[in-house]
Amino acid sequence: MLESEYQEQNRFFLNMGPQHPSTHGVLLIVLEMNGEYVIDPQPVLGFIHRMHEKMGESRPCPGFMPNTARMDYVCALPYNHGYVSLIERKTGIEVPKRAEYIRVITSELNRIASHLLWLGAYLLDLGAFTPILYGFDDREHILDILESVTGSRLTYCYYRFGGVYKDIDEKFVEATRAFIKRLRKRYVIYEKLVTKNIIFIKRTENIGIVSPDMALRYGMTGPNLRGSGIAYDIRKNEPYSVYPEFDFEIPVGKQGDCLDRYMVRVREIEQSLRIIEQALDRLPEGPVRSKVPKNIKLSPGDCNFAVEAARGELSYYLVGDGTSTPYRLKVRVPSYSNLSCLPELGRGILLPDLVSILGSFDLVIPEMDR
């Protein structure tokens, strides 16, 4: 048999997903394979497309609030934050300082919860079963804290135009402080269990290297971009809310492989804890909701608001027409741009490495499909 015929025999298509355990949602990736090597991975999206933008354009703007939590359900509060801030920028509604502090505290708690869930799920993809149990144990504390004030555990609808729905109390502050103390003690466990694990390092080091130029061409943002060594974080670069008042760093990686993306997220947890600590120390007194007109009119003209969600840049782009219903509402979600580099990044690699790369991107499928 000729070598070329042999090669041809080894070529086949493999459908990864929509229910593959490492796609974390309904994502189909059609893989053209040559033996165990991936030749061309093409993601197929849209299995849970719900047309959130159309919903946003067909009802008065407060009615879109619950939708914001149903895109990225793992880290919903920054999505709340972006939307309320967008309407506040558009209409000039003032937000009391205490409300902004509460928004920052709860958003950062949510970010940590998201990173912990990702950490567990990523290692599960790589074949390590134990870390997810530790990750969920810690995340459970955050969910309890957030439930006490928002009323929900996952799909939060807690922020309101001009403030937040409910003030936080002493119990919330105490529980959060106790959690910060607890999580810092757990770092040692995570380090011993995961970060220094030789199997984990072999599965992630030098795998899926995203160069800065590639990141730029695909518009990558968030920890996936910072893993490539670019310190771009909307919280610092385009400060919103009260983030400029806090002292925190932007962790970056060196070469942009899976291990760097992992390390960036782990180090971000500590930075989020620092923000929460400072916010709790300086929490101002006062009201948590300002007076907002019953019927919010969106003046003609467009307006953009970008926030840093757990996965990168979330932008809401709104065009008003003088009524209370947005004329156009575009939601730019981070995972969508982040994943779009997969056909280029995944060319010619081993199938197990593709699983490692997919996991390291921290994808949330309902967010991409919208």
Binding site: M51, G219, Y232, N237, P300, C303, N304, S315, R332, S337
Partner: protein, 172 residues
Amino acid sequence: MDKTIKDFKKFFIDQGFEAIETDYDQRGYHLEIVLNESQVRKFAKTAYEHGFYLVFVAGFHVRPEPENDTGNSGLKVVYQFARYDRKYRIKARASVPKSLKIPTISDIYQGADWHERETRDLYGIIFSGHPNLKPLLLSELDADFHPLLKEEEKLKSLNEVSWPSESQENTE
């Protein structure tokens, strides 16, 4: 590369684009660029060379100008660019002609590939030169169904949905 927003505005105007500086606190971006369809690729190349990344590509539907002979479809494509190292955000808007065709920028910004496919799904705008303009978010069975196109009675003219100063400039 240490251009300020004013420098960029001047630079873009020198390059032949229509650039307007906007109030960031009010709108959330610094520069508004109005392009015609033949300038889209040139602008994307310029933006790429100056270190901008593509934030998104989106469609936008307004009532077509009746007096406009050039065959305006009323559809617009909105591009947003930003920089990783600075607080610069640019919005560019291009009008789509009656043929519904506008050049692709997916070979300049590979990330535009999916954004353009999505815009074709939702608005029916055809990005000519795109290598793979298949439905992405919507089903292939719904390839002719564009959910974000507005019904005739809900359509508004561009002036009705623009900032007041902008519409004054447009009428001048």
